[in-house]
Every structure is written in structure tokens, then in C-alpha cells.
């Protein structure tokens, strides 16, 4: 193994979450929720919050490291980092950046965090209400292409056309998240099961996305504490070691969704080159993966991400993407075992990262037996995208 690798050198020592709420329902300021998630992760790990010396986030999180470090009263700030890109494309990238900081000696104890309180800062999924659109936005907004669902739908439509994939494949992905949420009391959709009929009868948002193909919008906060592998072994929880991580995009993919129509390879989640680097760093392949958390901004992104991570060929999608194949504990590829962005919480994918760690620890509410390799994929179609593999001690 090359020195230039994260493999086995860093581990998740603690995870923390606030209660997850429907959008605009947060009972306290976003910054307070962010602090509470970080403190919960420290408690989970059994470390003093003042020992945090680095902060990493993504998606232009509003809670900046200086404000957090001053508020918590950490001894010394050594690392502060923001992964570029909107949405949840950068969630695993933030974990990779934090890991790299620890491996390189820039910091010893880095927290990756995300907090959202839309009622305090504005809703997602709304078109820009401005009189004029500059630059590339002039090429999309005047045509009524203004929201993530509308930007990403043509990518998925083309992929489904190219490979003769039907709506049932997307439905199975939505059904899987809702199925697992029914076992997870933290899930916002706990107690609200989804049936095939309910999916089929739900309204279209932007074809091929029905309502249930689209992520929720939520308020809350989540945090993950990373330390060196050696230190993690001495802490309270079973370590989830970072086996590999990768981020980026394919050729000429701009981060502005307003120009997504121009990406040379339109029908992609952007993971084709990125997943190759992930597996190369980990020294593993898709057949080694025991359980997958895959960011659902939209179900179609999951479809393409799973293909591009090598789990099945596009032509096999209709056979592979069936509920019985995707549910824990018996499915051949258990997927989004917490309920994911669709049914647990949309914390820009940090909840999915925490679930990937829980599967290594044996703490999931839909636990897969004997998990050694746990994959967590960040937001597809939203470059730079990112992805990460966690492993147990046995996987090292």
C-alpha cells in the first residue's frame, strides 16, 4: 500500500445527531443544533470537546469553524476546511479532507458537521425570484428550469432511455428507504410506510421523478469525530476505519447546475472515475461491500451511482433493483438502512455517513450481519461528488 493513502490510518470515533425535524420545525437556532450535534459526537466517542482541533464541512455550511471553536472553547484550532460544491456532493469529501488532515499531521481530532434550519434561512427547491438572470443562469432559468429536480431530471431520463430502465427501478429505491425508516425511531418518516400504490399515485414533480423520488427537506444537525486509528482503538466505540475515499467529477462537469445540460457525458452520477479511485485506495472492489448508504437527492441518482460503483450493469438494473435485494438483513445489497435522505432525514447526507458507521459498529436499527466493509456515497450529479469506504478491524 502506497504511503499516499488514507487506508487504515484514520477512524470514526464518535457520531452525534440532534432530533431530526421536518423543514422549518427546528425549535432552536441552527448554530445551537450544530453545537449539540458536535457535543453528542464527543460524548459518543468519550472525548473532551475542547480536544477538537479541526473542523470540516461542505455545502457552504453557515456555522464557521471560528465561531464554533470560540463557542466550544477548544484549546487550539489547527485545521478548518470547507469542501466546494452545493448540495451533498461534498459530504464524503469533507470526511476525506478531515482524514487527510489527520494523516498528514495537520490536526489530531477533526469534527465533520452539517447543520440545517431552513425556516431560519430559506427553503430549498424554490426558483430564484429575481428579475434578471446573468451568465449561464440566463440559459436555464427563463425556461423554468430552476430547481435541483428540474436540473437533474434530464440526466436520469437519458440514462433510463439509454438502458431501457423503467419507473419500477426508481420505485424500488424509494420503497427501500421507507421500509428501513419504519424500524428507525429517529426517522422523520417513522410510522409512515410507503406502498407501491402510494408511490404510483403520487404526483409528478419533474418526470421521471414522482414526489417520493425526491429527498425530504429537514432541520437538524449531525457530526462525526475523526481521530487517528491508534487513538480510536483506545476510545469508547468500535472504530470504523477509513479504508478509502475519493472525490471529483468526470471530464468538463461544471458545478453550476444551470449548465448541467452541457456536460459531455450527461447521463452520469459523476462517479465513473471517482469510484475507481475509491476502490484503488481501499484495495477492494464492489463484491467486498457488505452494505451501502447512497445519497438520494433523487432516486435516479442512486440508480446511476450504484451502477458506477460497479454493483450491477445498467442493463441489469431492472432485475437488481427490487425491494427484496435491497433490504436488510437478507438482501444481497442492503441499501440506505436508516431510511436515508428520503425517509430518515436530509442532512445533506451526513446522516447516511453516520449510518454507514453504525453498520460497522453493529448499532443500526436495520443491522446487516457481520459488516466489515460499509460504503457511503455522497450526492450524485452534484459535482464535485465524493464517496468513502469504512471498514472494521477485520477489514484492515
Amino acid at each position: 500500500m502506497s504511503d499516499r493513502s488514507l487506508r487504515g490510518r484514520v477512524a470514526v470515533a464518535g457520531v452525534g445527531e440532534t432530533t431530526y425535524y421536518r423543514h422549518s420545525q427546528a425549535p432552536e437556532p441552527e448554530f445551537v443544533m450544530c453545537l449539540k450535534a458536535i457535543l453528542a459526537a464527543c460524548e459518543d466517542a468519550g472525548i473532551d470537546p475542547r480536544d477538537i482541533d479541526g473542523f470540516a464541512s461542505f455545502s457552504d455550511d453557515r456555522n464557521d469553524p471560528m465561531a464554533l471553536s470560540a463557542a466550544i472553547g477548544i484549546h487550539e484550532l489547527r485545521f478548518s476546511n470547507m469542501q466546494w460544491g452545493g448540495g451533498g456532493g461534498g459530504v464524503a469529501g469533507a470526511l476525506a479532507n478531515a482524514s487527510a488532515a489527520i494523516v498528514s499531521g495537520l490536526a489530531d481530532c477533526v469534527v465533520v458537521y452539517r447543520a440545517l434550519a431552513q425556516g431560519q434561512f430559506g427553503r430549498y427547491g424554490q426558483g430564484a425570484q429575481i428579475p434578471g438572470a446573468p451568465r449561464e443562469f440566463a440559459l436555464s432559468l427563463p425556461y423554468g428550469q430552476m430547481s435541483p429536480a428540474q436540473f437533474f431530471a434530464p440526466m436520469v431520463n437519458r440514462f433510463m432511455f439509454d438502458h431501457n430502465i423503467g419507473q419500477e427501478a426508481l420505485r424500488a429505491i424509494a420503497m427501500t428507504s421507507y421500509h428501513h425508516a419504519q424500524a428507525n425511531p429517529r426517522a422523520v418518516m417513522y410510522g409512515k410506510p410507503l406502498t407501491e400504490e402510494k408511490y404510483d399515485q403520487s404526483r409528478w414533480i419533474a418526470e421521471p421523478f414522482h414526489l417520493f423520488d425526491c429527498c425530504q427537506e429537514n432541520d437538524g444537525a449531525a457530526a462525526i469525530i475523526l481521530v487517528s486509528a491508534e487513538r480510536a482503538r483506545d476510545l469508547r466505540q468500535t472504530p470504523a476505519f477509513v479504508l478509502g475515499a475519493a472525490m471529483g467529477s468526470a471530464h468538463r462537469a461544471p458545478s453550476s447546475p444551470a449548465t448541467s445540460f452541457a456536460i459531455p457525458d450527461l447521463a452520469t452520477s459523476q462517479f465513473k472515475p471517482v469510484a475507481k479511485r475509491l476502490y484503488a485506495m481501499a484495495g477492494l472492489g464492489p463484491s467486498d461491500v457488505d452494505v451501502v448508504q447512497c445519497y438520494e437527492n433523487f432516486t435516479g441518482g442512486v440508480l446511476m451511482s450504484l451502477v458506477e460503483h460497479g454493483f450491477f450493469k445498467p442493463e441489469e438494473a431492472m432485475d437488481f433493483l427490487k425491494l427484496e435485494n435491497l433490504v436488510a438483513p437478507t438482501g444481497k445489497l442492503p441499501l440506505n438502512t436508516s431510511g436515508g435522505n428520503l425517509a430518515e432525514c436530509y442532512m445533506h447526507g451526513l446522516g447516511l455517513q453516520i449510518e454507514a458507521v453504525r453498520q460497522i459498529r453493529g448499532q443500526s436499527t436495520s443491522q446487516v450481519p457481520e459488516v466489515n466493509v460499509s460504503l457511503a456515497v455522497g450526492g450524485p450529479m452534484s459535482p464535485p461528488v465524493s464517496t468513502i469506504l469504512y471498514g472494521s478491524e477485520a477489514a484492515l
Partner: protein, 172 residues
């Protein structure tokens, strides 16, 4: 969402842009959506001036002839800055599409469904453009169909502008 889409340097208001198309009721979508601004002018001026004259004008690398769209400051194939503008035939094929049912802007409240098409221009290096697919919003959209541009003038807007829309070419 707006910060994700537009960053912090979103459009500055330019009068009553987009308020009303000159010949009433001729636009596919209702008035009130963000109007296109030819900004920055060096990058977007020639395109928007072209649409006013019912010409489709795009960017090309003057040394290699490689087309690129949307316009960029630099040629992506040679990393040089000697880009030129050239008129291309206003036609293409449908590469992908979506039919929008859920409005995300007040102006679209009663305008759904409507169709957004991604159109590829095989005669111009397979660059792609966006637009609405004119006609019945419930029509079956067939990827690979030939389309031609329709220049949708918004003469009453201040400043006036013209959108490039698309309609399916009737087959014999």
C-alpha cells in the same frame, strides 16, 4: 436554494425585465420569470444579440474549429483565449427532456406541466442547448427527434430579449 444556484453575485435588477412580451400571449411560459441578462457582455453579448436577429450564434475555437457552449473565457481544447463567434443552423435533435409538474416560481403557478428539452446540435460539434419544447405539454417526447429553433421575442421587456425555443420538425 438560491445561494446554491446563484452564488452571492446574483442578478442586479435591470428595470422591469421580463415584464411583458410585445405581442401579447406569444410566449410559451408566462411572463414574470427571470429575464436573460447578457452579462458579462464579453461572454454572452453575441449570443443574445444573435437571438434578437433570429440567428443562433455560438462560440468556437478559431484555431481548431472546436465549438463550445455555454461560452467560456478560455478554449477547453487548447487553453488559449482566441475564441470567435459563429452562426450555426438553428436546428438539432432532442437529447433528453423533463416535463415539469411542480411549480417552483410564482409565475409558473398555473403553467404546469411544461416541457424542458435538452437539444444537441450534431452539426456544431454536438454542443447542447436548453429550451422549452413547444406544442402540447402532454405530448410524448421522443429522444432523437429532430427539432428546429423558434425565436420567441419578448419585445415589450426592458431591455427586449429573445429566447430560443424548439419545436419538433414534422415528418413526412
Amino acid at each position: 436554494m438560491s445561494s446554491y444556484i446563484l452564488g452571492n453575485d446574483g442578478a442586479s435588477p435591470h428595470g422591469e425585465a421580463g415584464k411583458a412580451a410585445g405581442s401579447g400571449g406569444s410566449s410559451y411560459l408566462p411572463e414574470g420569470l427571470p429575464a436573460p441578462l447578457a452579462h458579462p457582455a464579453e461572454l454572452y453579448g453575441p449570443y443574445w444579440e444573435g437571438t434578437r436577429a433570429e440567428k443562433l450564434v455560438v462560440q468556437r475555437n478559431s484555431s481548431t474549429g472546436a465549438y463550445q457552449w455555454p461560452p467560456q473565457w478560455i478554449a477547453h481544447d487548447t487553453q488559449t483565449f482566441d475564441l470567435e463567434w459563429t452562426e450555426v443552423a438553428p436546428k438539432g435533435v432532442i437529447y433528453s427532456w423533463t416535463r415539469v409538474w411542480h411549480p417552483v416560481h410564482p409565475a409558473l403557478k398555473d403553467a404546469c406541466p411544461y416541457i424542458i428539452a435538452v437539444v444537441e446540435l450534431p452539426h456544431a460539434g454536438n454542443i447542447r442547448m436548453l429550451g422549452n419544447l413547444l406544442g402540447d405539454p402532454h405530448q410524448e417526447v421522443i429522444i432523437g427527434s429532430e427539432v428546429e429553433a423558434v425565436f420567441e421575442h419578448h419585445d415589450g421587456a426592458e431591455p427586449p430579449y429573445t429566447l430560443v425555443q424548439w419545436r419538433t420538425v414534422a415528418r413526412d
